[in-house]
Amino acid sequence: MRIATILLLVVLGACSNNAEAPLIAADIVVARPSPTRSTAVAYITLTNASRDPIVITEIRSPQFARVEIHETRIENDISRMRRLTELIIPPRESVRLEPTGKHLMLLEPVTDDVRGVELQLFSGDALLMRIGAKVTR
């Protein structure tokens, strides 16, 4: 089932300013899963085009005070969500952040009406990539 159908959302646009880097971002969706909450969730497919693993240790956003990597697992019909300390993308492979799987939680917006989001992906102190996306409802 398509993400757009699942969440009744439409991807309005996304871009990366680092298309030639070993890390490639695609299928970006930033959405508010709950109309009662100001936080947002982000789904994205990250591809490592290099021969070395890429470890994302931190994600920042100018629009949110905190960005956390979470993973939802359903085991024995019980849904559990946990925070991950890092996201490893093996060489020549993709990691898909998607509903009911790994995803980004964007917490504590710095403004009341966040419509666009920039995500900054770090490995240690090194900025790997900036990603821009519009927030759908």
Binding site: T36, R66, T72, T100
Partner: protein, 204 residues
Amino acid sequence: MRFSRFFIAIVIGTALAIGIFAGYRARLPSAAPTTATVLPQPLPLPEFELIDQFGNGIGPDAFRGRWDLVFFGFTNCPDVCPVTLTTLASARGRLAEARYEPLPRIVFISVDPERDTPDAVARYVAHFGDDVLGVTGELSELRRLTDALGIYFERVESGDGDYTVDHSAVVLVIDREGRFRAVFGSPHNVESFERDLPRIQAAG
């Protein structure tokens, strides 16, 4: 010539009758559910008193006289809950398009009553269609219901002052008598509900 016309009429009439019968049989949900698990004995709902999205008290009587698909979750849940509710709403929509009756009501019961006020639940369920009822209430009353139905939920601190809630991801089928009749395990998909719910209902 007269015999020939009579013979043709018989053949056409028989073919029509077979066609009508076959079509009728095809519409009958006579097979057993393939995804859902039907309880050997329906389980009556226990006594409980929660609050619906309008602020009204709601107990087991509110589940009598109609079929319900019940899901336990919380409005801060980022993916499993909205995905499941969207799946249920889509399945209900497809059944409605097929003019199937009786259509089920979708009931969302919060396992995070501390944050999910009736107003919060009302705004949340409004995103999943018209015939979705949101329920919240006191934790102790919620436990009376979930313990009786085998529904698990537990608050888990995330260490930064926030918390999440682990919870069962199943969908329960409550029948017209207000009894727990069947359960859909996860992961959920529209086709399973569209196919199996009529079969469960047809069993009585």
